[in-house]
C-alpha cells in the first residue's frame, strides 16, 4: 500500500486541531462563567457562589492546561506539515497570530497563576480582576484566531508578487468579509458549551440528591445563559449561512446534500444521505418533504442549488460537509428544545424536580462540544480543496516529509493525546463525583463562614437524600 503524504498530513492536522478545539471551547465558556460567578460573589457575598467558583475553577484549570499544550502544537504545525502554507500565508496570518500571542496568551498565562493560586495572596478584588483578565484573554484569542481562519475562508487585502503573498491593506485582512459573522458565532457556541456543561453537572447532582444548593444554582445559571445565547445563536447562525452562501457557494451546496444544479421542487430537507462523489449523486437519502424549500428558500416550492454548480476540481467532499452541518444544526435544535422546556418548567415551578428534564440536561452536558466540532468540520472541509480559498490548494501546501514519518508521528499523536483525554476525563469525572468543597478557609476572611457551614434549609420535595455537605 502506498501512503499519500497529503492525506496523512491532513489527517494529522485534522486530528490535532479537532482535539485542541474541544478545550478552548470549554475554556472560553468557563472563563466567562467564572468571571460572572466571582462577580456575583463579590456583589452578594453569598458563599454558594464562591463554592461554585472554586469547583469549576479546578476543572477549568485542567481543560486550560490541555488546551495550552495542544495549542502550541498547532502554531508549529503550520510549518511542520504544511511548509508551503506557512510560506504563503505567513505574511498575513503570522502577524495576526503574533498579536494573539502578545495580547491574549500572555494575558491568560500571566493572570492564570494568580487566578488559580493567588486568592489569599492578592485579595478578592485583585483576584476578580485576574479572573476577568483571563476571560478577556480567551475572548481576544478567539477574535484573532477567528480573524486568521476567516481570512483563509474569505481572503482579502493581499496580492501575489513573484509567488509571495504581500499584504496591501491590514484592515481588509483582519476585518475580512466573514470575520464579523463567524466570531460571534464561535463565541456564542463556546458560551453555550459552558452553559450546558455547567447545567448538566448541576442536574446530575440534583438527580442524585447531592449538593442540592449547588445543583440548583448552577442549573439556573446555565439555563438562563443558554436561553439568551441560543436565541442569539439562531440569529447569528442564519447570518453566517447567508454570508458563506455568498462567498463560498460550494460549501453551502455540499452542506444541504443536493447534487443537481437545481434540486427538485418542492425540495426536501435531508437528514441522512449516502453521497457518491465519483458519480455525483446520492445513493440513499432520508428527508422531510417540503422542508428544504421552506427553510432554505422561504417558499413552498423553491429549488435549492446543488454541488454540480461547482466544477469537480473545486468541489469539497460532500459527506464531511453535510454531516458536519447536520451534527451542529441537529444539536442546535435540541438545545432550543431544552431551553423552551426549561422556560415552561420554570414557569410551572418544576425546573429542579422534573427528572426527565434533569436527565436530558445530563445527556446534553457535552452537547456544545459536539456541535462546535460539527461546525468546524463544516467550515474546514467545506473550504477544500483550498487551504486558502481560491489562493492555495491544500495539495500544494504540504511539507517535504516522507509519508512513513508522517504516519509514525500521527500514531504518536494519537497515543499521547489519548493519554491526555483519558487523564482529563478521569480527573474531571473524579472531581465531579467528589463534588464541591464547602466552608472554605477564605470564606472566613469575608465574615461568612457561619453562613457557608450552614446552608439554608431546603424545601425541595424532590430531594430524597440529605445534603452530604
Amino acid at each position: 500500500m502506498t501512503l499519500d503524504p497529503t492525506l496523512l498530513a491532513r489527517i494529522q492536522f485534522g486530528f490535532t486541531v479537532s482535539f485542541h478545539i474541544i478545550f478552548p471551547t470549554i475554556s472560553i465558556g468557563l472563563a466567562m462563567f467564572l468571571a460572572i460567578v466571582e462577580g456575583l460573589w463579590l456583589k452578594t457575598r453569598d458563599p454558594l457562589y464562591l463554592q461554585i467558583y472554586r469547583f469549576w475553577l479546578g476543572i477549568f484549570a485542567m481543560g486550560f492546561g490541555v488546551g495550552v499544550v495542544t495549542g502550541i502544537v498547532l502554531s508549529f504545525e503550520f510549518g511542520l506539515g504544511f511548509a508551503r502554507f506557512g510560506q504563503i500565508a505567513g505574511p498575513a496570518i503570522g502577524p495576526m497570530i503574533a498579536l494573539e500571542v502578545l495580547t491574549s496568551f500572555f494575558l491568560e498565562a500571566g493572570f492564570l497563576g494568580i487566578m488559580l493560586f493567588g486568592l489569599n495572596r492578592v485579595g478578592p478584588r485583585l483576584h476578580f480582576l485576574a479572573t476577568c483578565m483571563v476571560a478577556l484573554g480567551t475572548l481576544l484569542s478567539a477574535s484573532w484566531i477567528l480573524s486568521a481562519n476567516s481570512w483563509m475562508q474569505t481572503p482579502d487585502g493581499v496580492t501575489m508578487e513573484n509567488g509571495h503573498l504581500v499584504v496591501t491593506d491590514w484592515l481588509k485582512v483582519i476585518v475580512n468579509p466573514s470575520w464579523l459573522y463567524r466570531l460571534p458565532h464561535m463565541l456564542a457556541a463556546a458560551y453555550l458549551t459552558g452553559s450546558f456543561l455547567v447545567a448538566g453537572v448541576g442536574a446530575w447532582y440534583l438527580l442524585r440528591g447531592e449538593h442540592v444548593d449547588f445543583g440548583r444554582r448552577t442549573v439556573s445559571l446555565g439555563m438562563a445563559f443558554a436561553t439568551v445565547l441560543i436565541a442569539c445563536q439562531v440569529f447569528i447562525g442564519d447570518l453566517v449561512y447567508g454570508r458563506m452562501l455568498q462567498y463560498q457557494p460550494a460549501k453551502m451546496q455540499a452542506a444541504e446534500g443536493f447534487w443537481e444544479e437545481q434540486s427538485q421542487s418542492p425540495a426536501p430537507y435531508y437528514w441522512i444521505i449516502v453521497p457518491d462523489q465519483a458519480n455525483q449523486k446520492n445513493l440513499f437519502t432520508i428527508g422531510t418533504p417540503y422542508l428544504g424549500s421552506i427553510w432554505l428558500t422561504h417558499s413552498l416550492d423553491g429549488r435549492v442549488e446543488g454541488l454540480k454548480n461547482t466544477p469537480r476540481d473545486r468541489q469539497p467532499i460532500m459527506g464531511w460537509v453535510f454531516y458536519g452541518f447536520r451534527v451542529m444544526y441537529g444539536i442546535a435544535i435540541l438545545m432550543f428544545g431544552v431551553v423552551v422546556a426549561s422556560l415552561w418548567l420554570h414557569w410551572q415551578g418544576r425546573l429542579f424536580t422534573s427528572r426527565w428534564f434533569l436527565r436530558t440536561l445530563v445527556v446534553m452536558t457535552p452537547s456544545g462540544v459536539v456541535a462546535t466540532l460539527g461546525g468546524w468540520y463544516l467550515a474546514e472541509t467545506g473550504r477544500q480543496p483550498w487551504v486558502i480559498y481560491n489562493i492555495l490548494r491544500t495539495n500544494d501546501a504540504v511539507s517535504p516529509v516522507p509519508a512513513q514519518v508522517l504516519l509514525s508521528t500521527l500514531i504518536a499523536f494519537v497515543c499521547i493525546y489519548a493519554l491526555f483525554m483519558a487523564g482529563f476525563l478521569i480527573f474531571t469525572g473524579r472531581a465531579i463525583r467528589k463534588g464541591p468543597r464547602v466552608a472554605t478557609d477564605h470564606a472566613e476572611s469575608t465574615g461568612s463562614l457561619k453562613h457557608a457551614l450552614k446552608p439554608a434549609v431546603l424545601d425541595d420535595p424532590g430531594r430524597n437524600r440529605p445534603v452530604t455537605e
Partner: protein
C-alpha cells in the same frame, strides 16, 4: 529603517526569554527524577507552577514571530527539524498535563512525576538537537528543505542536546537554590556542584566540535575574533562565579549567573550565524516577508511587549520569596 532586522531582534528576544524562563522550568522538571521524596517533589513543582505557562508562551511567540516575519525560513526549518520538533511538542505536552494531573491524584502522583520528568528531559534534549542541527546546517533547494528529516540525528547535534539538558538542569537547580528551604536547597547545591562544571566543559567541547562540523563557525571566529573572545571570557568568568556562589548566603546568585551563562551562549550563537536566519544559507533579508507584515508585527510588539513584561513581572512578584512548604493556598 531595517524592518527585517528589527523583527529578527524581536524574535531573538522572545527566543532568549523562552530559553531562560522555560529553561529553569524544564531543569526543575528533569530533577524530579532524582528526588525520591514526594513532599520535596511537591515543593519543586509548586515553585514553578504559577508561572510556567507564561514562560512556555515565549516559545510560541518566537515561532509565530518567525512565521510572520520570515515565512521562507519557517517553511524550511520546520520540515527540516520535523522529528525533533514533534517529539519536543509531545514532550512539552506531557509535561504540561502532568502539572495539572499530578495534583489530582495521591497514588498516581509518582507516575505523573515520572511523566513530568520524562517530558522535561526529552523536550530539553530535542531543543538541543535543533540547536546542534542549526549549527551543522540544513540542506536547502530554493525555498524548500531538500534534505532528509533524519539528517539531524548526527553525533554533533546529539552532543549539543546533552549540553543543553545539562544547562537547563543548572538553571533548574539554581532556581531551587533561590526558592527552596533546606533540605531541598541542599539538594540543589549538590546538583549544582556536579552539573555546573559538566555544563561548562560540554559547552567548551561543543564550541570546538562546532568549528569542525561547520566551516561557517570558523569564518565567524575569523570575522569577529574580539567579540566572540569577549563572550567566551565572560562565560568562563560567570561560570567560575556560579561555582563559588553555590551554597553561599546569596540565594539567587547561582540562578542569575546561570541565566547569564545562557544569555552569553545565546549571544555567541547569534553572532556566529548573523545575519542568516537559516544558518549559513539564507539571510534574514532574503527570507523576510514584505514591509507591511513587519510594520504590523513590530507596532504590535512595541506597544504590547512592555505590558506583557510588566504583568509577567507582577505575577512573579505575587509569588516571590521562598515557596511555602504547605503549597500555594487556594
Amino acid at each position: 529603517m531595517d524592518l527585517p532586522l528589527l523583527s529578527a531582534l524581536f524574535a531573538a528576544f522572545a527566543l532568549l526569554l523562552y530559553v531562560l524562563l522555560d529553561g529553569f522550568d524544564l531543569g526543575v522538571g528533569a530533577l524530579l527524577l532524582l528526588q525520591p521524596d514526594e513532599r520535596l517533589r511537591d515543593r519543586m513543582v509548586d515553585s514553578i507552577m504559577p508561572t510556567w505557562d507564561g514562560n512556555e508562551t515565549w516559545l510560541i511567540m518566537a515561532g509565530v514571530a518567525m512565521l510572520a516575519a520570515f515565512p521562507i525560513a519557517y517553511g524550511i526549518l520546520l520540515p527540516a527539524f520535523y522529528l525533533p520538533l514533534i517529539i519536543m511538542l509531545l514532550a512539552l505536552g506531557l509535561r504540561g498535563v502532568s502539572f495539572e494531573f499530578r495534583y489530582q491524584t495521591e497514588q498516581g502522583r509518582r507516575l505523573w512525576d515520572r511523566c513530568f520528568a520524562l517530558g522535561s528531559i526529552v523536550a530539553a534534549l530535542m531543543q538541543g538537537l535543533i540547536v546542534g542541527g542549526l549549527i551543522q546546517g540544513v540542506t536547502v533547494d530554493g525555498e524548500r528543505f531538500a534534505g532528509s528529516v533524519f539528517d539531524v540525528f548526527q553525533p554533533f547535534p546529539l552532543f549539543v542536546a546533552v549540553a543543553v539538558l545539562a544547562g537547563y538542569v543548572v538553571l533548574g537547580a539554581g532556581w531551587l537554590h533561590l526558592k527552596a528551604t533546606p533540605p531541598l536547597r541542599g539538594f540543589a547545591e549538590r546538583i549544582l556542584h556536579l552539573v555546573a562544571p559538566t555544563f561548562v566543559v560540554l559547552v567548551a567541547a561543543g564550541c570546538g566540535a562546532a568549528a569542525m562540523v561547520q566551516p561557517g563557525v570558523d569564518a565567524a571566529w575569523a570575522q569577529h575574533p574580539i567579540l566572540l573572545g569577549v563572550i567566551a571570557a565572560l562565560f568562563l568568568g560567570a561560570a567560575t562565579a556560579l561555582l563559588l556562589a553555590v551554597g553561599g548566603r546569596a540565594d539567587g546568585r547561582p540562578f542569575f549567573l546561570g541565566l547569564a551563562l545562557f544569555a552569553l551562549a545565546f549571544a555567541g550563537f547569534g553572532v556566529t550565524i548573523f545575519p542568516n536566519v537559516v544558518p549559513f544559507r539564507i539571510s534574514l533579508w532574503a527570507a523576510a516577508s514584505a514591509t507591511l507584515s513587519h510594520v504590523f508585527l513590530l507596532v504590535g510588539a512595541v506597544i504590547v511587549t512592555p505590558m506583557v513584561l510588566a504583568y509577567s513581572a507582577f505575577a512573579y512578584r505575587v509569588f516571590r520569596g521562598k515557596t511555602p512548604e504547605s503549597g500555594w493556598e487556594t
